[in-house]
C-alpha cells in the first residue's frame, strides 16, 4: 500500500487546526521534568456537584495549609498540595442562565464559551467552545507515547461524562468506565501467553485497520464539509487506536496492574482506575490522564443517609436538616479520598531518587464552588504532585481571577509556555502567586 502514508498525511492536512497539527510534526525530543530525566505528566481529576467551600480548610485565607474535613483524606500528601482559592470560572457568564450542570462542565476545563447549533425552531448547546486543558496538552505532546491520552470515568455516560473533556469543537471525549476494558486496551497484547499469537493478532488488526482506512479514503472526500470533518475525526481516532495497539515494554516499574474489582461499586472502580492511570504513566503509554466522576447519586459504601439521592441533598444544602452538613462533608470528602488514592498510586512507583508523583502534576477540579448555589464563582482548585517551580504546601488566594489564568499556570508548570488559555477576553496571563 504505497499510497497509505501520503493519504494519512493528506487527511491530517484536511483536518487542519492547531489541535491536530502536532501529529504531523516530527517527534519532538522528550520533555523531561527538570533535572529528573523522567517525563512530566498531567493528570486531571474532576467531579460534579461542587463542595462546601467553608469545610475545605481550617484557616481562612492564604498561609500555611491546614486541611479542613473535606480535604482531610489528603493529609498524608499535604506537603505536595497547593490549594488555590476564589477562582472564577468566568467564561460561564457567556452562557448563563443555561443549565448549570451542563454549562459548568463545558466551561471548567475549556475556559471558553459554548457552541450553539440550530435545533428545530430554536438553538441548543452543541459543543464546548474549544479543547479542554488535558486534551490541549495531549495535542501538544502527541506522538511521544503510544496513547495520546487516557480518560477513565466512574459512573460516566457518553452524555454526562463526555461533557468535561473536549478535543475541540464537536469532539467530546468519552471516558472509559470499565476498568477491565481499559486494562485490555492498555495491556491486552501482553496478557496472552503465546508471543507468536500476540504477534499474529497485531498483524491482523493492522491489516484490518488498513483496509478500513482505505474504505474511508474512498468515502470521505466526496462528502459535504461538515460530514467530511466528522469522518476525518473518526479516521484520526482509528489511527490512534492503531498506534496504541503497539503497547509498552514491560519491566522495572512497568507491570500489568492487578485489578481487584471487589463488588464493582463506584468505590471499587475508582480504586482500579487509580492503579491503571499510575501504570499507564509508569509504562509511558501516555503522559496525559483524566479521572472523571459522573452522575453519582448514591453512596451505599459510605455511612450516609440520602433518602432523596445525593443530588437533592446537595441542592438542599448543609443547613436543610440536622446531620445534612455531616452527610455532605462525608460525600465530598470521598472525592478527596479518590484524589488521595491516585496520589498514593503515583507515589508507589519509584522514578530515579523519587517517585512518579514527583513528575506528575495533578489538577483537582469541580463543576461548582458551593454545591447548593451551583455557582461558578469562588471556586477552589487543588494542585497536587510535582512540577518544576511550583511551591506546594500552601494556600494561594486568586481573588476572583478567571480560571483561564489558573489553567495557564498549569500549562506553564508542565513546560508549555503559552501566555494564556481559553477565551483571551477572559484571560491574558498566568495566575500570579503560584510560583516559588
Amino acid at each position: 500500500m504505497p499510497s497509505f502514508h501520503s493519504t494519512r498525511r493528506s487527511f491530517l492536512r484536511q483536518l487542519g487546526g492547531a489541535a491536530v497539527a502536532p501529529a504531523i510534526l516530527p517527534l519532538l525530543p522528550t520533555a523531561a521534568a527538570a533535572g529528573t530525566g523522567f517525563p512530566q505528566r498531567l493528570l486531571v481529576v474532576c467531579h460534579g456537584q461542587g463542595t462546601l467551600v467553608d469545610e475545605l480548610l481550617l484557616s481562612d485565607g492564604p498561609g500555611p495549609l491546614e486541611l479542613g474535613p473535606i480535604l482531610a483524606p489528603l493529609e498524608r500528601h499535604r506537603e505536595r498540595l497547593l490549594v488555590v482559592q476564589d477562582v472564577d470560572d468566568a467564561t460561564n457568564s457567556l452562557d448563563a442562565p443555561y443549565n448549570a450542570h451542563t454549562r459548568c462542565r463545558l466551561h471548567a476545563l475549556t475556559a471558553q464559551g459554548m457552541q450553539w447549533a440550530a435545533s428545530g425552531d430554536g438553538v441548543a448547546p452543541s459543543s464546548a467552545g474549544g479543547p479542554s486543558i488535558d486534551q490541549y496538552v495531549a495535542s501538544r505532546w502527541a506522538g511521544r507515547t503510544p496513547l495520546r491520552s487516557l480518560e477513565l470515568g466512574v459512573k460516566v455516560s457518553s452524555l454526562t461524562g463526555a461533557q468535561w473533556l473536549w478535543r475541540g469543537v464537536g469532539q467530546p471525549v468519552t471516558p472509559e468506565a470499565d476498568p477491565d476494558v481499559a486494562l485490555a486496551r492498555l495491556f491486552g497484547d501482553f496478557m496472552g501467553t503465546d508471543p507468536a499469537e500476540v504477534q499474529r493478532r497485531r498483524v491482523r488488526r493492522d491489516l484490518v485497520l488498513d483496509a478500513v482506512q482505505r474504505q474511508f479514503d474512498r468515502v470521505t472526500p466526496s462528502l459535504a464539509s461538515e460530514d467530511r470533518q466528522r469522518l476525518l475525526v473518526h479516521q484520526q481516532a482509528i489511527e490512534e487506536v492503531r498506534a496504541s495497539l503497539a503497547g509498552a515494554a514491560l519491566g522495572d516499574a512497568c507491570q500489568v496492574p492487578d485489578l481487584d474489582l471487589g463488588a464493582g461499586s463506584h468505590d471499587d472502580v475508582s480504586a482500579a482506575h487509580a492503579r491503571l492511570l499510575a501504570m499507564a504513566f509508569a509504562c509511558d503509554l501516555t503522559r496525559v490522564g483524566t479521572l472523571a466522576f459522573g452522575d453519582i447519586n448514591a453512596f451505599p459504601w459510605l455511612d450516609v443517609d440520602l433518602p432523596a439521592g445525593w443530588h437533592d441533598a446537595v441542592h438542599a444544602g448543609p443547613d436543610a436538616a440536622p446531620g445534612a452538613r455531616q452527610t455532605l462533608i462525608t460525600t465530598f470528602a470521598w472525592f478527596s479520598a479518590q484524589l488521595a488514592r491516585v496520589l498514593d498510586a503515583l507515589d508507589a512507583v519509584p522514578e530515579g531518587s523519587g517517585t512518579l508523583l514527583d513528575n506528575t502534576l495533578v489538577l483537582f477540579a469541580n463543576t461548582f464552588s458551593d454545591g447548593s448555589t451551583h455557582s461558578h464563582e469562588g471556586k477552589t482548585y487543588v494542585l497536587a504532585g510535582g512540577a518544576p517551580g511550583l511551591r506546594m504546601d500552601r494556600v494561594v488566594d486568586a481573588v476572583g481571577a478567571p480560571h483561564g489564568e489558573l489553567l495557564t499556570s498549569v500549562l506553564n508548570a508542565i513546560g508549555i509556555h503559552d501566555d494564556a488559555f481559553g477565551d483571551r477576553d477572559f484571560c491574558d496571563r498566568a495566575l500570579p502567586g503560584v510560583w516559588s
Binding site: W116, S126, S127, A184, R218, S222, V241, A298
Partner: protein, 533 residues
C-alpha cells in the same frame, strides 16, 4: 451541525422564546407557531440530510441480522439525544468509539461459526460472500474498488495466518467501514434518492435496522423507482414483524421511557425496585406500543387511552399481580389509560423517593402538546421540599403557584402533574401518599394549544380522553413521528411536510400506520437535497 452559531444572539433568541412561553397572558407557544410564515405552506425547502451513523440499537440489530451473532446495544457507545430522539450526527467518533467498534467486530467474528463461509483460496466463494454479505453490509452492491480492498485484505491475512483468520478479518473490516457504520446517501435522478438509498431510509425508519436481501433486491429491480412501488413496499414493510421494533423505538424515544432503566429508587421505600423490574417496565411500554399499533385498534386515541397493557411475570408486580406469561393484561379503566399510565412513563416522571408533579406535567406539555418550557433560571432555589408526615404533595408544592418567580412556568406543569398523584414513583397505583394523606388527583390544564383541552379534570383517564380528542395532540404526535423518521428536528422551512403528516393522521381517523406510511412516502423523505461541498 449546520447553523452553528456562537452564543450571544442565538442564546437570547431561545431564552426570549422560552420565557414568553411561560408568562401570562398569551399562554405557551406551540412549536409550530414560533416562526413567521408558518401558515403559508408554500413550496418545500428541505434541509440537506447529514450523514448519520447507525445508532446503538440499529448497529446491534443490523450486525445480528448480518451475522446471526447476538449483539447487545451497549457494545458501542451511547448516542446523544435531541428532544429525546437519538441523534447520531452531533458528535464525531473519538478514540474510545473507534476502539469499541474494533473490539465489537472482533467479538462478533469470534462467534461467527459457519454463518459466513471460510473460502480460503476459492475465489468464486469469496465473490459470493462479497455479493451477499458485502451488499447487505454496505446496503448496495460493492464498487470494484471496494471489492479490491476487501479481497486484498483477505489475501494478505491468508499469507500470514489461517483461512478462518482471513474470513474473520474480512468481516471485521466490513463492520468497521464507513459504508456500514454511516448512512452515506448517493443521489439518483432528479434529486431523488436511488433505490438503495431509499430502501436504507425505509428500513431504518420502519424496522430500526438495515435493509435485508429481499428489500435490496426490490431496489435493484427498480421496485422503488416510482411512487406506487414505494407505497406498496411500505405497506409490505409495515406487515413485517420487524416493524414492531420501529414503532417501539419511536414510542419510547417520543416518551423518553428507555431512561427508566437507569433510574434509581429509594431502597427503603421501594425495595421491589431493581434492574430486572426496570428493564421489564421498559419492555412493557415497547410491547404495549407494538400491540396497539399492530394487534389492537392501531390509533393514536388507543395509544393514549387503552385500558390494558402488555406485560409478563416481572412487570406484573407493579400491578400487584402474579403472572406466568407475557401477554395482554386488562386494567381498570377508572385507573389506567394508555401510554401516560405506563409505569415506565410514570417512573421517569418521579424522583428517588417521591413523585414529581412538575416532571409529569412537563411530560404532557412537551411530549403530548409540543409546548416546550424553559429550564429554571440559574439563581432560583429549586430544592425539593422534604417529604412530610402531614402535608400532601399539593401542599408541599404550594410555593410553586404562590411565588411569582416560579408560578409563570409551574402553573403550566404542576396542576397537570397533580392529576397523576394516584401513581407512586415506580408507577404503581396508590390510594394514599406516603404521608398517609389520601390522594386527591384533581388536575387542571390551562394555556393548551386548543381551548377544548383547558379546564379541570380528575385523574389521568379523564385527561387522556380529552387529549385523545384534541387536534393539537394529533398534530404534535405527527411532528414527533417526523422527528423520528428524519432523525432530526424539522425546521420552520419544513413545516409543510409536518402539516402533510398531520393531515394524513387526521384523515385516517388517527391511524398510526397510515401516519408512518404517509411520512415514508412523502417527498421530504424520498428526496435528497445536495449540500455544497
Amino acid at each position: 451541525m449546520s447553523g452553528v452559531t456562537h452564543i450571544a444572539h442565538g442564546m437570547r433568541a431561545v431564552v426570549a422564546l422560552a420565557l414568553a412561553a411561560c408568562g401570562p397572558p398569551g399562554g405557551p407557544v406551540r412549536e409550530s407557531d414560533t416562526g413567521a410564515g408558518v401558515d403559508s405552506c408554500g413550496a418545500d425547502v428541505t434541509f440537506a440530510t447529514p450523514v448519520r451513523r447507525l445508532s446503538q440499537d440499529e448497529y446491534a440489530r443490523t450486525v445480528t441480522s448480518l451475522t446471526t451473532v447476538p449483539v447487545a446495544p451497549g457494545v458501542v457507545l451511547d448516542d446523544p439525544e435531541v428532544h429525546g430522539f437519538a441523534d447520531t450526527t452531533a458528535a464525531a467518533v473519538g478514540v474510545l468509539g473507534a476502539d469499541r467498534y474494533l473490539r465489537a467486530a472482533e467479538t462478533v467474528t469470534a462467534s461467527l461459526g459457519e454463518a459466513v463461509p471460510v473460502c480460503g483460496a476459492d475465489r468464486s466463494c469469496l465473490d459470493e460472500v462479497l455479493d451477499e454479505l458485502g451488499t447487505r453490509a454496505f446496503r448496495r452492491p460493492l464498487e470494484p474498488g471496494e471489492r479490491e480492498i476487501l479481497l486484498g485484505l483477505h489475501e494478505e491475512v491468508r499469507a500470514v495466518d489461517t483461512d478462518v483468520a482471513a474470513r474473520d478479518a474480512l468481516v471485521q473490516a466490513l463492520l468497521q467501514s464507513p459504508q456500514f457504520l454511516y448512512r452515506v446517501e448517493s443521489a439518483g435522478s432528479g434529486g431523488a434518492l436511488d433505490g438503495y438509498g431509499l430502501a436504507t431510509r425505509l428500513a431504518f425508519f420502519l424496522w430500526g435496522e438495515g435493509p435485508d436481501a429481499a428489500l435490496l433486491a426490490r431496489a435493484s429491480s427498480g421496485g422503488l423507482d416510482a411512487p406506487e412501488g414505494v407505497a406498496a413496499t411500505v405497506d409490505d414493510m409495515l406487515e413485517d414483524p420487524r416493524a414492531r421494533n420501529g414503532v417501539a423505538d419511536f414510542v419510547e424515544q417520543w416518551m423518553g421511557t428507555a431512561r427508566v432503566e437507569s433510574l434509581q429508587r429509594d431502597a427503603q421505600r421501594f425495595p421491589q425496585w431493581d434492574a430486572a423490574l426496570a428493564s421489564a417496565l421498559r419492555e412493557e411500554t415497547r410491547a404495549f406500543a407494538g400491540h396497539v399499533v399492530f394487534d389492537g385498534e392501531g390509533t393514536l386515541s388507543a395509544l393514549l387511552t387503552a385500558p390494558y397493557t402488555v406485560t409478563g411475570p416481572e412487570g406484573a408486580r407493579i400491578y400487584g399481580l402474579e403472572r406466568d406469561e407475557v401477554g395482554v393484561l386488562p386494567l381498570d379503566p377508572g385507573e389506567r389509560a394508555g401510554i401516560l399510565t405506563q409505569p415506565a412513563a410514570l417512573a421517569t416522571g418521579a424522583h428517588d423517593n417521591q413523585t414529581s408533579i412538575t416532571l409529569r406535567g412537563l411530560m404532557v406539555r412537551e411530549r403530548i402538546l409540543c409546548q416546550p418550557l424553559p429550564l429554571p433560571p440559574d439563581d432560583l432555589d429549586i430544592t425539593l421540599p422534604p417529604l412530610d408526615d402531614e402535608l400532601s404533595t399539593r401542599e408541599r408544592f404550594a410555593r410553586h403557584s404562590q411565588d411569582p418567580a416560579c408560578s409563570g412556568c409551574h402553573t403550566l406543569m404542576d396542576p397537570v402533574g397533580l392529576g397523576f398523584e394516584h401513581f407512586d414513583p415506580i408507577g404503581a397505583w396508590r390510594d394514599a401518599e406516603s404521608s398517609g394523606v389520601l390522594v386527591d388527583a384533581s388536575g387542571h390544564l390551562s394555556g393548551a394549544p386548543d381551548a377544548s383541552l383547558d379546564g379541570h379534570f380528575y385523574g389521568v383517564p379523564e385527561l387522556a380522553q380529552r387529549l385523545a380528542a384534541s387536534p393539537s395532540v394529533s398534530e404534535c404526535f405527527a411532528r414527533n413521528a417526523v422527528r423520528f423518521a428524519w432523525a432530526r428536528d424539522p425546521g420552520l422551512h419544513e413545516s409543510c411536510a409536518v402539516a402533510r403528516a398531520a393531515t394524513a393522521l387526521e384523515d385516517s381517523g388517527g391511524d398510526i400506520r397510515s401516519l408512518l406510511g404517509s411520512i415514508a412516502t412523502d417527498p421530504a423523505f424520498t428526496l435528497r437535497t445536495e449540500t455544497p461541498r
